[in-house]
């Protein structure tokens, strides 16, 4: 059976995956002066930019009482931005990963699915490394960390499957249609603004317009990102019903993506 077969393949390749992830993380900032510190600096700088633009200048936080000050807003923003970076970096790198390792695919026999898995896992670890920074920020800026923080773990699992499923699709498709690489960058920008990251879901404009609200509810990332915001920032129980639906949807995406990837992977050695 496909699912069991593939789980076995992944299990057998665990050493290869962990080694590739390790190499990816090591090589990423090799040669730069600050090296590994960039893992922490990148999200912090991004957060500073967004806080300036949206927390101080545009202020899309009304009417949520918990987002009154720019400091509160920056912490809210951080909660959603960190998982978004994991997601978007995986997708962008996924569109490239088979080309980057083209020589390997053409010349060495190894399970190709390890490459998208590596991309998503490496970015996941990057995300995990960002969490201590998040905690330090929360504490330093006087925002309490609640036990609900632990509810972020199931959310991570959901996001992992969703991201990996999409990455499988994108990686396999870009081999045949290079145009997709250009499309992705633009689609991701749209997706970023169509997900409640820089504004809360309770934002006025959304609640007043039923079609915007519906659109956002249909976006699986809305529920995933909201899950983090509940766990990290608001300190309350996540909307678990929506999350369960999202989880099932993510699993479907994952298996469909993997299946598609598996179906076309024989063509990779000729096309990359």
């Amino acid at each position: 059976m496909f699912i069991i077969d593939k789980i076995k393949t992944i299990y057998r390749s665990r050493l290869l995956i962990s080694t590739l992830v390790n190499r990816e993380l090591k090589a990423r900032y090799r040669g730069s002066v600050l090296g590994f510190l960039w893992t922490f600096l990148n999200p912090m700088l991004l957060m500073a930019v967004y806080t300036l633009a949206f927390g101080i200048i545009l202020k899309p936080r009304y009417p949520n009482p918990e987002l009154k000050t720019a400091i509160d807003y920056s912490l809210f923003l951080f909660s959603g931005l960190l998982p978004w970076i994991w997601f978007s970096a995986s997708i962008i790198e996924g569109g490239n990963i088979l080309f980057v390792h083209g020589s390997m695919i053409k010349k060495v026999m190894f399970p190709v699915e390890t490459l998208p898995i590596m991309t998503v896992t490496a970015n996941f670890i990057n995300f995990l490394l960002g969490l201590p920074i998040l905690i330090i920020f929360f504490i330093a800026l006087g925002h309490p960390i609640t036990p609900y923080f632990l509810f972020s773990i199931p959310v991570m699992i959901i996001q992992f499957f969703f991201t990996l499923g999409l990455t499988f699709f994108i990686a396999a498709l870009t081999v045949h249609f290079k145009d997709i690489q250009n499309l992705i960058a633009n689609l991701l920008t749209l997706w970023f603004f169509a997900t409640p990251i820089i504004y809360p879901f309770s934002f006025d404009t959304i609640q007043k317009s039923s079609w915007i609200k519906t659109a956002l509810l249909l976006n699986p990332l809305t529920h995933i990102i909201e899950g983090y915001q509940y766990a990290f920032f608001f300190g309350s129980l996540p909307h678990y019903k929506k999350l369960i639906v999202t989880f099932i949807f993510s699993l479907v995406i994952f298996f469909m993506g993997y299946y598609f990837f598996d179906r076309v992977k024989d063509t990779f050695a000729e096309e990359v």
């Binding site: 050493l15 190499r23 090799r30 060495v108 026999m109 045949h176 000729e270």
Partner: protein, 419 residues
């Protein structure tokens, strides 16, 4: 699959599909319009790289595959290695395979040689423990003790190749697949690689080997397979197969040359000048038996046969011949004046002239022939420059332009083994 057979291919077909860029655009467009992305991978043009090939290779055999570019050699190797899957047919292999198809594939430039050894080893299917055991050996074989902590991007291409070869060979495979990788090595490393391959042979491993270096193939393989246009043409004793292959290539080139020649009958351009009061109407190169040929061996003789047509009676005339090598250097040149022959009478009409060289004594390569008929002062009536060509081909790759008759002599203390 019998017990001793380790590689078994049955009716393998591999077609490469070519998509034109227009076709690509159409599929992308239609993919978005009617969602036909799954259906629409229809190839516009199919190229059969491997066409119904069946092969059995027994344990401990060293097999060489030869053939022209595009004959399907590399595709067969990749199919055996499992890198690409055939469209039809079955592949069965027994034992661990290591494929040296491109050395250092999968090396990451930013990280050190040491880390790359571990990662490459894992990609090739070793465990961490196995790599640790072999690490010293790998570094030593690659002669990279001093550089192993440096990022691989700082390596020279030779160092990079050595490391790649060293890792792949130390995987300790049951079946080793080698694709032309030895062609890029430096002079001291190639013999080392061949030694290692010989060691594999002694240890009873199976080796499948693709190379354009026919001498090496004939020397180290037990059996040679000759492929052409995706099919196995011949399989058998290496020397015999290599010779048949060489002969076929010569014939093919002879034919090609004949065709080229009949297509163009001495064009009037930069390579021909003179007033044509005496015209060279044809130049044919023949061997000593009188057969028209293009490729000659160094010991053979050649006869340059010219036909001329004089439009008027002449008393001031001479004939010249020049042989030039591929670089344009004159290998030999002479004419009737130089050889103390003074033209006395050339009657109006057609005549035949031949110039015989009993033994060419030239090294391998292309040669051009200049022929001319001219006056005593050197004014050409008709001069053919680089219009006629022949080739010297032998399995001895000596260098220079001229191969004098020669012989080696050694006293009893010196012995050689024939290879």
């Amino acid at each position: 699959m019998s017990n001793s057979t380790v590689i078994s291919l049955r009716n393998i077909v591999k077609a490469y599909q070519k998509y034109s860029s227009k076709h690509r655009f159409n599929t992308l467009k239609s993919a978005f319009i009617d969602g036909s992305i799954f259906r629409d991978f229809k190839p516009e043009d199919v190229y059969l790289a491997v066409n119904n090939v069946s092969l059995d290779i027994k344990k401990g055999q060293t097999i060489g595959i030869i053939g022209e570019n595009g004959s399907g050699k590399s595709t067969i190797l990749k199919i055996i290695a499992g890198i690409i899957r055939p469209n039809q047919g079955t592949v069965k292999t027994k034992g661990r395979i290591s494929a040296l198809i491109e050395l250092g594939a999968g090396f990451h430039p930013e990280i050190s040689g040491r880390e790359n050894i571990f990662i490459n080893g894992i990609i090739l299917g070793l465990t961490k423990k196995e790599i640790k055991e072999r690490y010293e050996q790998i570094v030593k074989f690659a002669e990279l003790e001093d550089f192993i902590e440096q990022p691989v991007k700082t390596y020279s291409s030779g160092m990079f190749m050595r490391l790649g070869f060293s890792v792949a060979i130390n995987v300790n495979p049951d079946i080793l697949i080698v694709d032309e990788v030895l062609a890029v090595g430096d002079a001291s490393f190639v013999p080392k690689c061949l030694d290692k391959i010989n060691e594999f042979k002694r240890n009873g491993k199976t080796i499948v080997f693709v190379s354009h270096d026919l001498e090496t193939v004939a020397r180290i393989t037990d059996e040679t397979i000759w492929m052409e246009k995706g099919k196995v043409v011949m399989r058998g004793y290496p020397r015999q197969v290599v010779d048949s292959y060489l002969q076929a290539i010569s014939e093919k080139e002879e034919n090609k040359h004949k065709k080229d020649k009949s297509d163009t009958k001495y064009p009037v351009d930069n390579n021909r000048w003179g007033d044509r009061s005496v015209e060279i109407t044809s130049v044919i190169l023949k061997d000593m038996k009188g057969k028209e040929r293009y490729i000659y061996s160094p010991e053979e003789g050649i006869s340059i046969e010219m036909e001329i047509k004089a439009k008027e009676n002449k008393d001031d005339f001479g004939f010249g011949i020049g042989i030039l090598n591929g670089e344009g250097n004159v290998v030999y040149g002479t004419n009737t004046f130089i050889e103390k022959l003074m033209g006395k009478k050339l009657k109006r009409g057609s005549h035949k002239i031949s110039f015989k060289i009993p033994s060419l004594k030239l090294v391998n390569g292309f040669y051009f022939i200049d022929v001319a008929v001219h006056s005593k002062e050197g004014t050409p009536y008709d001069y053919h420059h680089l219009l006629h060509k022949f080739r010297i081909d032998s399995n001895i790759n000596d260098v220079g332009v001229y191969r004098p008759d020669h012989e080696w002599k050694f006293d009893e203390g010196i012995e050689f083994k024939k290879i």
